[in-house]
């Protein structure tokens, strides 16, 4: 697994070097590989399509500007980008009105590969919306840590690097975040179709 991650790191860094050397195809590949993850993360954390798009574009713009100065081996491209996105999200969250609650029903995009039937599709959408609403109720830092850990699938040391905190702090944030999510979602258990599972 670690080898796979190392390979991916090298691939991103190699593509960035190719872009810095004037290879336009490398820019397209980097965009395809990285932008969806950044956009998805920003959308989960901010709960706003327009803001998420702006954040993803700004993060990629900073990557393009950084390309000629990038030093291979010093940092992982994805970690660097997630850190930029996390900081941009934090800035926007701080600027928001304290009374506003992000994460409306239209905050989460439609599933990318909808194959199931109509009823199942509706239930999946309801569950996705419920998760997004519950995420939006978390404190900002908890939400960022939970999304990085459980949706983006990053390891705790990398999350610690991205958020600029210790690993224990990450563990604490994600644990408290999960408890808060469970408490939020338990009230909607029946409505989300979990009542038939014997719980």
């Amino acid at each position: 697994m670690q080898d796979l991650l190392d390979d991916q790191r090298d691939a991103d860094a190699d593509l960035l070097q190719r872009y810095a050397a004037g290879d336009a195809a490398a820019a397209r590949l980097l965009t395809t590989r990285l932008a969806p993850r950044l956009h998805g993360h920003a959308l989960r954390v901010l709960g706003d399509r327009v803001e998420a798009e702006d954040v993803a574009q700004e993060a990629m713009l900073r990557l393009w500007r950084q390309a000629p100065h990038w030093r291979p081996g010093e940092a992982k491209v994805t970690t660097w980008l997630y850190r930029v996105v996390a900081n941009l999200c934090t800035d926007r969250l701080r600027q928001r009105n304290a009374g506003a609650v992000p994460g409306g029903l239209d905050a989460v995009a439609e599933p990318a590969d909808p194959a199931p039937g109509a009823a199942q599709k509706i239930q999946q959408a309801a569950r996705a919306d419920a998760l997004q609403q519950a995420l939006a109720s978390l404190p900002d830092r908890q939400r960022q840590a939970v999304v990085l850990r459980h949706i983006d699938g990053l390891a705790n040391p990398e999350i610690a690097d991205i958020l600029g905190i210790g690993i224990e702090a990450v563990e604490s944030l994600t644990a408290r975040g999960k408890r808060a999510l469970a408490a939020q979602l338990s009230a909607q258990r029946d409505a989300l179709g979990f009542e038939d599972d014997g719980f």
């Binding site: 004037g22 965009t31 998805g40 993803a56 990318a112 569950r127 996705a128 459980h150 979602l185 719980f199």
Partner: protein
């Protein structure tokens, strides 16, 4: 009421991971436009470099306009200007007469003739 258990939460996370939001086409286009604009100039293709050196569309349109005006003035100059193009074509530039006049004027100023020395 029983709390939402860990497995169900993990199911929701797994579903979220499995169905990531698609990258909007307009966002991809914006990102790629930024990439093209900020690609290091020295290593860009020669025609892109030339395009930027000329100032892009605005610079090139100014250059074309200035060239067209210059050609127009050369082909059909206003009546108040000498027809330089016509003189070049006919070979009658009047340069020998002008040089003779200037030589005589210089002789008057310095008081001696170059051919006397």
């Amino acid at each position: 009421m029983m709390d939402f258990d860990t497995d169900r939460l993990e199911d929701l996370f797994a579903a979220a991971r499995a169905t990531p939001p698609a990258l909007p086409d307009r966002l991809q286009a914006r990102i790629l436009a930024d990439a093209e604009q900020h690609m290091p100039m020295a290593r860009m293709a020669w025609h892109r470099t030339l395009w930027q050196v000329l100032g892009g569309a605005a610079g090139l349109s100014g250059l074309v306009t200035a060239t067209a005006v210059g050609v127009w003035l050369g082909v059909a100059p206003p009546a108040t200007l000498p027809d330089l193009a016509g003189q070049v074509v006919s070979g009658d530039l009047g340069l020998s007469a002008q040089i003779d006049t200037e030589t005589e004027a210089l002789a008057g100023v310095y008081g001696w003739d170059m051919e006397e020395s």
